[in-house]
């Protein structure tokens, strides 16, 4: 699914979190929203996921206006910064949640849900943790479970808010490859938010550099490295 963002802005009271920004994401791309905290990257991601609504502007999914779709209608697989796993449910029930929440007519039978959860656990290479609770998992395992839970709803796109933020450096590197593999297997249009330029440059097909609620530059990692468009970008990627 390709995503078009057209002159999107967001104000929280008197402060502008996003000045009008426009961005076109081709179908199947892996995109990094890169910027320091307060640059508006998470706000943009949350608007795409339907968790915030823009003050002005439009969001188009495959050419169709999606600006007023509810969060449930968007079918965006969302991975939260601290993963937001349901602490009172087992890993299995966490992953099955989205399938069980479907209206009766489109809800898969119990055996089919179990089969899909098992497949997802295999996909994230944690086949044996279905009966555990989130509190019994390591940070890296939690991140992968959150990813599996988001994939279970057969999302139209994948949105990840600082997916590696809560992990130590070694696990970070491993999971980067994990995300790349899952993206390549599923072919889902994927946007992830990060403040780590190494992560963005290494993982993404397309990097969107943001600062103070504005998009500073959009480009392939190599192009951004070779030709930073603004002094901010030059300084930020040099850091």
């Amino acid at each position: 699914m390709h995503i078009d963002i057209d002159e999107l802005s967001k104000e929280f009271g008197a402060t502008a979190a996003l000045h009008p920004v426009s961005l076109s994401v081709p179908s199947g791309a892996l995109v990094a929203l890169l910027g320091p905290s307060g640059s508006g990257k998470t706000t943009l991601l949350r608007i795409l996921g339907g968790l915030e609504f823009p003050t002005a502007g439009r969001v188009m999914f495959d050419g169709q206006d999606a600006t007023n779709l509810t969060v449930q209608q968007r079918r965006a697989g969302f991975v939260f910064q601290s993963y937001a796993l349901f602490r009172h449910m087992t890993v299995f029930d966490n992953i099955a949640y989205g399938l069980k929440a479907r209206p009766r007519a489109s809800r898969p039978p119990r055996a089919e849900i179990a089969r899909r959860v098992t497949n997802l656990l295999a996909l994230i290479q944690l086949p044996d943790i279905g009966t555990r609770y989130p509190s019994q998992l390591s940070g890296g395992q939690r991140q992968r479970v959150a990813l599996a839970r988001a994939l279970a709803i057969e999302p139209r796109m994948l949105l990840l808010d600082e997916p590696f933020g809560a992990l130590d450096a070694k696990v970070r590197k491993e999971l980067r490859q994990g995300l790349r593999d899952i993206h390549d297997t599923t072919g889902l249009t994927t946007l992830f938010v990060t403040h780590d330029q190494d992560e963005a440059m290494e993982l993404a097909d397309l990097v969107v550099v943001m600062s103070m609620g504005r998009i500073e530059q959009i480009g392939k990692p190599a192009d951004i490295r070779a030709r930073p468009a603004t002094p901010f970008v030059r300084e930020f990627i040099a850091a």
Binding site: Q72, R87, Y97
Partner: protein
């Protein structure tokens, strides 16, 4: 020179044995004087004339009516307060809005206002001499000196318990899990049922138990609004006081023992639930 560290008289994080025993002893002494001694006295006094006399005193219509009334008041006011408490806590914990501090203050009013004053306010608002109360009496639905007034007074004094238990828990948990459930396609009601409620169930249980204990035991506010009509609007605490003032100690203490027993049963239920769900409780806390 040896490698061993110089021997400390005791580990730095614990007190000296003497201090420890002194503190523990003090706590036990205070608990004994303030809690256990009165509790034992109540039961001892109730049974002074033998168990038969105690049971017989509970069988009189006045006592039975008081027990029934108290249970009914709790059965109505506790669920309503649980619902209002959840709604208020949800609003305060999950949303930012103008007047939030004012709402928090309003929730706390029953804690800071004397129950007698609260009862008087209800009498002034709903009594036969007020416009609203006069109209209600004319319609045949009196509030004051009747059952609805007792329920209102009980709800007023127990209002903060559930909300106050829930707000810190809900603030700490944030909105992330609810948002996650929404992105997974769950409706608002399903999110509440399957994510919010399970996450707050222990705090909710504590709030409900406290609220229940207070609703059954409330004296001041109920005394003002009920008119203390024997066998009609006299709840257990009020009946106990009336019996005691009439030197009917056995009857008074028997009824007091039943009230204390109801409290002990709720405590027992709480402990039982905690034991049965110890794993889930531990998992939730470790997260």
């Amino acid at each position: 020179m040896s490698d061993a560290a110089p021997a400390l008289p005791h580990p730095v994080t614990t007190e000296r044995p003497l201090t420890r025993w002194l503190l523990i002893g003090l706590v036990i002494a205070v608990l004994g004087v303030l809690l256990f001694a009165p509790l034992i006295t109540v039961f001892a006094e109730a049974l002074r004339g033998g168990p038969g006399a105690a049971v017989a005193s509970l069988g009189v219509p006045e006592a039975r009516s008081a027990i029934r009334l108290t249970l009914m008041v709790a059965a109505i006011s506790v669920p309503l307060n649980a619902a209002f408490g959840i709604a208020a806590a949800w609003l305060v914990a999950k949303y930012d809005f103008r007047g939030k501090t004012l709402l928090l203050t309003l929730i706390d009013i029953p804690f800071s206002v004397s129950p007698v004053v609260a009862g008087l306010c209800l009498v002034l608002t709903f009594g036969a001499h007020s416009a609203l109360g006069g109209w209600l009496v004319a319609q045949g639905h009196p509030i004051i000196f009747a059952f609805p007034g007792i329920v209102l007074a009980s709800m007023f004094v127990t209002f903060p318990f559930v909300a106050r238990e829930l707000i810190p828990v809900m603030v700490e948990q944030g909105r992330a899990e609810e948002e996650a459930a929404l992105t997974l396609g769950a409706s608002g009601w399903r999110v509440f049922r399957s994510v919010t409620l399970p996450n707050i169930r222990w705090a909710l249980l504590y709030g409900v138990l406290l609220s229940n204990a207070r609703a059954m035991g409330e004296f001041g506010a109920v005394a003002v609004v009920s008119g203390k009509i024997r066998g009609v609007t006299a709840t257990m605490p009020i009946t106990i006081e009336m019996l005691y003032n009439e030197y009917l100690s056995t009857a008074a203490f028997a009824l007091a023992a039943v009230l204390a027993l109801l409290a002990l049963v709720t405590l027992g239920l709480k402990t039982l639930l905690e034991l049965r769900h110890a794993d889930a409780l531990a998992a939730a806390r470790r997260h």
